[in-house]
Amino acid sequence: MKKLFMLTVLFGFVVIFMGCPPKKVAKPEIEQPPTTSQEAVQKTTEVGPEEKITEQELTKIESAEITKEESPKSSEKAREEITEKDILKDIYFDFDMYNIQPDAKTTLETITAWLLKDPSKKILIEGHCDERGTNEYNLALGDRRAKAARDYLIALGIAPKRIEMVSYGEEKPLCADQSEECWAKNRRAHFVILQEAGK
């Protein structure tokens, strides 16, 4: 009975003060982390080394750990320096576009003829962009450019398994100046002979 009375009183309080301006109150979700406040209460005013400081120490350890595990790999080595420079020419794209331009057709046909002559050869197509877009979207765009070139070669009769592709987005520019001339050079599909081809 007494309990019931207490409850009623408490409920009464809740109802009465429901309309109290919330301005003076800390919102429940943004209450301080319990660790800190409990610590403050239990140890009066003393605050030990904060949990995040320890985390910071951890971070220092782990970077060393990971550096050891991580063996640097060079993808560059997997490629052969191009000898057929005249055949494997870059093809170029318009800003934010990935359709094959009419002037790229000759290059793609020459590459096809060269690939058809030596069936042991395999190539990698790299898709690149100029720096003006944003990184992630440019990677997707580079992907589309490489794919467009690959689809073109496949349409001309090259077996899909002979053509690998990768997007480098804006990360590996040929030309570093900020000019339209330079950007145009960077918006390219680049062809590389894969060393492991035919082996």
């Binding site: 003060f17 109150v25 319990p34 605050v47 904060e50 060393a64 877009g133 990184n135 979207y137």
Partner: protein, 432 residues
Amino acid sequence: MNTEYRSQNTEVRINKILLFLSCILYLVSCILPTVSEAKVYIDITSPAFKKFPIAIQELSGISGKEVSDIIKGDLEFTGIFEYIDSGAYIEDHSQPFNPQSWKPLGVEAVLKGSVKEDQDLSVTIFLYDVLEGKEIFKKVYRTNKEFIRSLSHAISNDIYYALTGEKGVFRTRIAFVAKNEGKMGLYIMDWDGNRIIKLGPTGNIILPPRWSRDGTKLIYSAERNRQWGIYILDFVQLNEKKVFFSNGTNIVGDFFPSGNEFSFSSSKDGTPDIYIKDTKEDKIIKLTSSYSTDVSPAVSPDGKYIAFVSDRGGSPQIYIINKDGSDIRRLTFEGSYNTSPIWSPKGDRIAFVGRVGTNQIFIIRPDGTELLQLTTSGNNEDPSFSPDGRYITLSSDRDGSKGIYIMRANGEYQKRITPKNIRAYGPRWSLD
């Protein structure tokens, strides 16, 4: 897995306790509006709050100036405080607090304290209310000398909380990517650009990392040996795990709140589409399937929506889709190049990069209203909100070399926080 379950349980329990405590606090504060714990000196949620005048007396002791300067820098950046210059102070730190010496200066709160140094650092802090002439809090902080910055930020957090009732961001961190000697690496630093630490993983190309909610993991995409893989760096287990790879370009979006799922884009089926990977069940769900380019899936804070970039309408624009793949709608209509969406912590804003000749940071409400441009000079990319949503970090080349900046979420007070000798970009603010 067991621990995780337990910790979630504990969290729920703590949340319940907190909720209960706050309810009591609410009642008490209503009855006695002058109870000091509950008094909010600055209502930062009000659109027209007045800057709060605070005096920060240089703490006594050898490192006193360093600690006071860090606190001052923290509080000034918020734009909430008006720092009253020490030149005008009547009282020096050897004298006890007397409200009468501060009232003429228009000061409303005073910070005093001392730093003691032996092997460790011990800082005693007093925060006073001038108008009521009483102590707001007193606290002793102890730590190893090496962590003087963390300790000072902890003091700032306590001051901020005591005066605003909100959690400060002064101990949060920013993860980013930087290029050093031709190699890309992952880095983390304090929110103010101090204590830059290089993490282990490298790659031919590494894309900006994203934090897990609890701050114990980073997830990122890296190109190694001509393959785009998605990796998790675990700060607790001190290792890196490959969590997804396939042919094509695979780029991670975000963790979902649970931490067991993440969004990503992949061109494994031909063109880039949006996917969700469930690491617990080890399964993949495809959300979009179109001939267009779909990329950069940003997960809303409640995990219900994904904002992403698609060129399905002819140019890259931001779209929102439900987590189950239903109800795709276009968010941006201004301009012809809008990319890199990210949600604010409350889910009430989306920041993105819009191209207006150069790349600039914009914010917009998820319903498409209140579009606002926040930056104007140079190219500005990679926006990311602070955990309280009041600030945004970004990368910019406005000073020539690419670096990381922070600003208030309304675009005010933009400042560079990384040094000129590192080409740093892709900042992501920790979520807690």
